[in-house]
């Protein structure tokens, strides 16, 4: 079962910071949801390989050749802060 402390840890890992009231509500709701997930224990899967994608074809990667599809201006256009050349973030060092 998920305690508010577990939820706080998961929140940190997920870079989320819900307030205390929300965190408590999340832990109760997520607890209920995970309890429901226990129905999977009824299924014997000892000889079953996991299926991660329904795609049946062999997925071939594209050729590893650099290509310029977008201009710098396009890529920067939606950034909250830029200097016209780079994305700007708060000072790191």
């Amino acid at each position: 079962m998920l305690t508010p402390e577990d939820m706080a840890h998961l929140s940190r890992l997920s870079r989320l910071a819900p307030d205390a009231v929300t965190l408590e509500r999340f832990s109760a709701q997520c607890g209920d949801i995970l309890k429901y997930m226990d129905v999977l224990a009824e299924v014997d899967t000892s000889d079953v390989e996991p299926l991660y994608s329904p795609a049946q074809h062999v997925q071939t990667p594209r050729a590893d050749e650099p290509e310029r599809r977008r201009s710098r201006a396009e890529v920067l256009a939606n950034a909250p802060e830029t200097d016209g050349q780079f994305f700007i973030v708060p000072r790191i060092v």
């Binding site: 998961l10 997920s14 989320l16 929300t22 209920d32 429901y36 899967t45 074809h57 000072r91």
Partner: protein, 488 residues
Amino acid sequence: MSELYAASLVDIRDRLASGQVRAEEVTRACLDRIEATEPAIHALLAVRPEALDEARALDAQGPDPSKPLWGVPVTVKDALATAGTRTTAGSRILENFVPFYDAFAVEKLRAAGAIILGKNNMDEFAMGSSTENSAYGPTHNPRDIQAIPGGSSGGSAASVTAMQCFASLGTDTGGSIRQPAAMCGCVGLKPTYGAVSRYGLLAYGSSLDQIGPLTRTVEDAALVFSVIAGHDPRDATSAPRTAPGPELLAGVQQSRHLAGMTIGIPEEFMAAEGLDPAVAEACARAQNLARGLGAKLVSVSLPHATRHAIAAYYIVAMAEASSNLARYDGVRFGYRSDKAKNLEELYTFSRTEGFGHEVQRRILLGAYVLSAGYYDAYYRKAAEVRRLIRQDYLKALEQCDAMLAPVSPVPAWKLGSIIDDPLKMYLMDIYTVSLNLAGLPGLSLPVGRAGSLPVGMQIIGREFDEATILKIGHVMQTVLGDLELPCI
């Protein structure tokens, strides 16, 4: 009805192509209809002011027979990137995001001559079954504005049903095309996984997401599907197959009966707890109709496709969501909190302020099921059960050409009535999620009523055999006719 906006897509397409009506007239009729209906239903997050100019430009050139949707106004779920038009995925975190490229399916629509009128409301990042999780307020059901339109493509279903457009593109990760189509009483096709490229779709659950049309008729769905399907090297999961051409629609239109067809009825679906008696009755009548049209009905078994499927689906979807949504960091695009003093706070505050609660819940649960110590018990286990579900479907489809099943256990519920109980909301997806886990196609068709609300059934088909389910749907819809339900 004689109004232009009330025609079917195929009909208006034919009238446009023959020059009986002009693209500008049709576009204006839809824009007027949007103005009249939008205050009541809120199906759109953006209307493109360029649409009328685009229609005039088409008229200036004259009809182009090589373009199957020439001059036809459509809308697109806000999960699909549209170059130059704001694309939010129903989230505050993308409040000001204007893509510089079109999604593959949008490129295909434009190349076919369609006019994109606007972007449809949706549950934030497609996480929801009622469109109440949109950061921009809920959409209302055009059949009953106190009711939810279904979700997550609720804006698409409401827009099509209210005749604001002739078709909309939706996305279906766990039922998000089929369920709102059923709730609103329109048609929705979830294609086979890989049939339509996901390039330009704002990802939720990448192994589950699929793009498809919502329309008022099955013929219309066949036409739009034939336009948007096809291989795209930019999506590695896009199947390297030849796209269905115009012969898909012709084949559907020529279908008159179901003789020689075997249709499976999944026994676990009909016996599932919580199936509303009025929905069950409408489904039974539709099954009898299929029999009357010549189909042989057989009982088939999908032992893992109900309770176990909900659990497996939500584990897989949440795991993929927690990974996919890591990209929203307040750096390259999207919302940035102005309270952050360092980089970590920038990530954390931007995400916390930008994402709604349902999205945050799914990210947290996704992180949990992927974490060391729980991965095998949850994520791997879910993936194993996923294989069993797919095997169930493949085995059942050896005994029949297609299956007929409910879409939702209940008709559209009242807005606000279960939004605070996420598990209860998830359980409403009992009939739809298994198909996404298996990767198979499903067509949601309005088959009747439960009181004053529509009831939909899904016709489930074999991999890449959209043609068969569209044919069955067309034959049934021709006999069923209009729902005769009020619409705003």
